[in-house]
């Protein structure tokens, strides 16, 4: 699964431009399952198990990543952009991007620190002062390579480092996609539905449609969630810890997870000796927020891989958490379906 996570994270696919990610996933699952692409671009997969399911279960992961959309080109050839998804301005200046269908190189420029007033040395430029420099000398040169409406995404090498850590862009939620692919490739006990969803990062657009189409009784959103186990953060704000297993939420900003399902997840993990932790802060949200409100309501859980520096070019996960999340989601899916 490590190879899958690395390959998936390297593919560009901001919200609304997930086609390359989808094509890659189809290649991985087409020999194992039936699939279709719905009107919004969600990849809906039915994997036949060894037995028919007594309860219909859907497993969701989103294909899109945060990034940028080019809004305008200045007469000097610089690109203005809008953020796609929740990106902190602090992680932009000095970073690199790929731009447009040709994937040309660009950088986020900034006024040199030498020219900044002393009191502004730890102040960021306003978001609307940021721009992408592709080296073009004027608008005409830039237009040969980029049009307003084109996407841009973080240029970030995927690196394994330290004691089992992975750094890349887009681990949110390609790591989740990798888990779903593995579940499809491993024959499940029961028939199982999967949604590789589009447009999570701009407000859970895709999963609302795929949940409607699949109409499950139970669902699990497989995600990454913010981990703040870093220096300077007090214990009660760390949310979750890398290396402590998949993270199960009782509540976040999009969903109140059913207490019965939440308890069942923790019991199951304990019974099967699967590392698992509880998300220790009510923060964030994910596709569960759209799925649990689908049709007449869906019993929904989310299992997340803890991820440092979420929504940055350098997301960091620990590989063993992806493996324990795969084990937990597989066990839960079987438990719900039986």
């Amino acid at each position: 699964m490590l190879k899958l996570i690395k390959e998936l994270s390297a593919i560009p696919g901001i919200s609304g431009r997930e086609n390359q990610v989808r094509d890659f996933i189809i290649e991985q699952i087409k020999d194992y399952a039936e699939y279709k692409v719905d009107p919004l671009g969600n990849l809906i997969v039915f994997r036949k198990g060894r037995k028919p399911a007594n309860h219909k279960v859907m497993i969701d992961a989103h294909m899109d990543e945060v990034g940028f959309i080019i809004t305008d080109i200045t007469s000097e050839g610089f690109l203005h952009f809008a953020k796609v998804g929740g990106i902190n301005t602090a992680v932009l200046a000095g970073r690199r991007v790929k731009v447009g269908s040709k994937g040309i190189n660009g950088v986020f420029g900034i006024k040199p620190i030498h020219l900044v007033d002393k009191e502004d040395e730890t102040n960021l430029p306003a978001a609307d002062e940021l721009y992408i420099d592709i080296g073009a000398s004027n608008k005409e040169e830039a237009f040969k390579y980029v049009q307003p409406g084109d996407s841009a995404w973080f240029s970030s090498e995927t690196v394994e480092f330290g004691n089992g850590f992975i750094k890349s862009k887009a681990l949110d939620d390609r790591a989740g996609c990798a888990i779903l692919i593995k579940m499809i490739q491993n024959e499940p006990e029961y028939d199982m539905w999967f949604s590789f969803s589009v447009q999570e990062e701009i407000g859970l657009r895709g999963a609302a449609a795929s949940a409607f189409t699949i109409a499950p009784e139970y669902a699990i959103a497989v995600e990454t969630t913010t981990a703040a186990d870093i220096p300077g953060v007090k214990d009660d704000k760390r949310v979750c810890i890398l290396g402590s297993g998949g993270t199960v939420s009782f509540m976040d900003r999009s969903t109140l997870y059913g207490k019965e399902l939440f308890d069942r997840a923790l019991e199951l993990a304990k019974g099967k000796n699967i590392p698992c932790q509880v998300k220790m802060l009510v923060a964030g949200g994910n596709n569960a927020g759209a799925i649990h409100k689908s049709r007449g309501g869906v019993k929904t859980l989310s299992v997340s891989i803890p991820c440092r520096y979420l929504h940055s070019p350098a997301c960091v996960i620990k590989y063993e958490d992806a493996e324990s999340s795969l084990a937990l989601v597989s066990a839960l899916a079987e438990d719900f379906a039986k």
Partner: protein, 344 residues
């Protein structure tokens, strides 16, 4: 006469080497290797690369600094994260969630921590943490980290040598590998035709931390005249094109009270005669470059400054235009030929 491919390939090799102030060996070796093609090379007590081509006439020193800014490890915390201080004028605004290399017993990968959005308070909006609050995540426990990393180890900012449009390039150490590339290119353009001038090339250490390399190197060299080649500010959004130079519009000839006015004027004249694109950079006192140290070394040395305009100075995405490096090299070559009596 122009061979742009050559300038960018020179620059690429120089930018691939690592050399934070005080720990320049790798970059100095790379530059020395390239300089050996033209002259004998020595390493000064403070690590600067110094090469000389003999001549009976005027002794001209060409200087570019070989160090780059970075960070230095100050301690390893209980959870294995590295605490750091800056080494040279690093910019903390551009570090969150960036890739770095820690040059410990072996080179290891790290990420500068960034504050997750759920912890960002309203009053902290638009603020970044200072150097005393940031840390490097290397994915190791304290015990594991201590086997590889020690306080004092240097940290460089990762970033490949990326080509942009129009012969422009991005790298974390254009400052001042572009200057070194310009000098090496000038030697190539001269092709030995320097007349009777004596040429010393110095790739000096520790410019970013005060210029100790150039100060001591210039003392040993005792040249008659010096040209320091460094980088300076190019205009960009929020960096006024009225106040600053333009990328790609030519080498910047420096004027300052501390610079030798005759040398500045001679450089301008030669640029005009040889149709070399140039821009003017005027400073009110000293220059903030190695010129300040070279001028005051030993008995004193007449000094000029040529600057290559770059954007985003002291970030991992310093951007330069190869044409500016080529034009800087052409002007240096023209100056040496003139002073060596080749045009007489």
């Amino acid at each position: 006469m122009s061979d742009y491919q050559n300038v960018s390939s020179l620059l690429k090799v120089l930018c691939s080497a690592n050399g934070t102030s005080g720990d320049e060996t790798d970059a100095a070796n790379a530059a020395a290797e390239m300089l050996k093609k033209y002259m004998n090379v020595e390493i000064s007590p403070l690590g600067s690369v110094i090469g000389t081509l003999d001549g009976s006439g005027v002794h001209i020193l060409l200087d570019a600094h070989i160090d780059q800014i970075g960070l230095t490890v100050t301690s390893i915390d209980e959870t294995g994260f590295l605490k750091v201080a800056k080494c040279g004028g690093a910019d903390v605004r551009v570090l969150a969630a960036s890739d770095v290399t820690v040059h410990g017993k072996e080179d290891i990968f790290g990420v500068v921590i960034s504050t997750p959005p759920h912890l960002a308070s309203k009053e902290d909006e638009g603020k970044v943490k200072g150097f005393d609050e940031i840390a490097i995540d290397i994915g190791l426990s304290k015990e594991e980290a201590e086997k590889i990393v020690s306080p004092g180890d240097r940290i460089t900012f990762n970033g490949s040598f990326d080509e942009l449009l129009g012969g422009r390039f991005a790298s974390p150490c254009i400052d001042d590998r572009a200057g070194a590339a310009a000098i090496l290119r000038a030697l190539e353009l001269l092709d030995g035709k320097k007349g009777n001038a004596k040429i010393t090339v110095m790739f000096s250490t520790q410019e970013e931390t005060g210029g100790s390399g150039a100060m001591t190197g210039a003392f040993s060299v005792q040249a008659d005249e010096a040209i320091a080649v460094d980088v300076s500010f190019a205009s960009a959004p929020n960096v006024s094109s009225e106040k600053y130079a333009s990328l790609g519009k030519g080498t910047m000839i420096g004027y300052a009270p501390s610079l030798d006015f005759e040398m500045s004027k001679k450089l301008k004249l030669l640029a005009e005669e040889n149709e070399i694109p140039f821009q003017t950079e005027v400073m009110g006192g000293r220059t903030g470059t190695n010129c300040d140290e070279i001028q005051n070394s030993g008995r004193g040395c007449r000094t000029a400054l040529l600057s290559i305009p770059i954007r985003n100075m002291h970030t991992a995405v310093e951007v330069c235009d190869e044409a500016d490096i080529e034009n800087t090299a052409r002007l240096i070559a023209a100056y040496i030929a003139e002073r060596g009596g080749m045009n007489a």
